[in-house]
């Protein structure tokens, strides 16, 4: 019987790479040798999340990833939105003026590139995955904070492309 995949993924995302490696290995060994139940595994992981997260915060790793997510995804998005608002405010007849698709495409591209650069700073794919999740959260907050009403397809694309960019960046670092 294999340990629950979701719990393993959660552990990898929350704990730092080095810790997750050891903790997951210990849990898997105990799970396999002592025929522990899935409930035991789930309980161990859920109870371990907070101490491991605090450990990661203390080591400064989480703050670096958070900073990367904000600088790589949320800040560019907010700045581009401000720019669009400025351009929009200069147009005398605003009626019927919608956000140009070209501008939105450039916006998405810029956020993806920034997220990719931010993801490139991560040392491994696991850190890249954590960064991607935080990038998505940061973009969500940024979209919520944007004054202009973002079209739904644009919001969905940005929410997808920011973490994808972050993951791509960390993958590029690994394979280059």
């Amino acid at each position: 019987m294999k340990p629950p995949l979701l719990m393993r993924a959660l552990l990898l995302v929350v704990a730092g790479e080095a810790e997750a490696e050891c903790v997951a290995g210990d849990l898997e060994e105990e799970f396999g040798q002592s025929s522990r139940s899935r409930c035991w595994y789930i309980s161990q992981v859920t109870r371990s999340l907070l101490p491991l997260l605090l450990l990661r915060v203390r080591s400064g790793e989480l703050s670096r990833i958070l900073l990367g997510a904000v600088l790589g995804a949320a800040l560019p998005l907010l700045l581009l939105d401000r720019l669009w608002c400025l351009i929009y405010s200069q147009i005398p007849l605003k009626d019927g003026v919608d956000r140009a698709p070209g501008f939105l495409a450039v916006n998405i591209l810029a956020v993806t590139v920034c997220a990719c650069i931010s993801g490139f700073e991560r040392r491994s794919l696991r850190q890249g995955a954590s960064s991607a999740m935080l990038a998505m959260a940061a973009v969500g907050v940024a979209l919520w904070a944007c004054n202009g009403s973002a079209p739904a397809p644009y919001a969905v694309l940005v929410l997808l492309f920011a973490p994808a960019g972050s993951l791509l960046g960390s993958a590029l670092r690994r394979f280059t």
Binding site: E21, C22, D26, S48, L49, P51
Partner: protein, 127 residues
């Protein structure tokens, strides 16, 4: 007053900040690592604590404490080769350092000093 504050601050910097005092759980984890000697790693420490104290602690809490002890220089760690039963992951073994032994001795001495002269009622008599 200022002199006392300064003395307290220096005391803090020289002792507490260097991690010479152990918290309760740190003490227990350090003793478990010491007892297990060469076979001390996260899960064995967790098992040892459960067997001897009856506390069912999480593996995350054990690792977080071991990390803290390592940062204080009270334990050292080494990674072994990955094994198939661990899903191809390496095992991290821990060992108590000389500073760790000193810290346990100090804590034990402090506890013994505090307990000295106290009379304990028989189990259940305090209810």
């Amino acid at each position: 007053m200022l002199l006392t504050l300064r003395r307290d601050f220096l005391y803090y910097v020289e002792t507490v900040a260097k991690g010479e005092f152990l918290g309760e759980f740190e003490h227990i984890v350090l003793l478990a690592v010491w007892r297990l000697s060469d076979t001390a790693y996260g899960m064995s420490v967790r098992r040892e604590i459960a067997d001897r104290t009856g506390r069912d602690v999480s593996i995350g809490a054990v690792y977080a404490t071991l990390e803290r002890l390592a940062a204080k220089g009270l334990v050292t760690s080494a990674l072994s080769d990955p094994t198939p039963e661990r899903g191809g992951r390496a095992k991290r073994s821990f060992r108590v350092t000389g500073a760790g032994v000193d810290a346990v001795n100090r804590t034990r001495q402090g506890l013994a000093n505090m307990l000295e002269g106290l009379e304990f009622p028989a189990a259940g008599a305090s209810r």
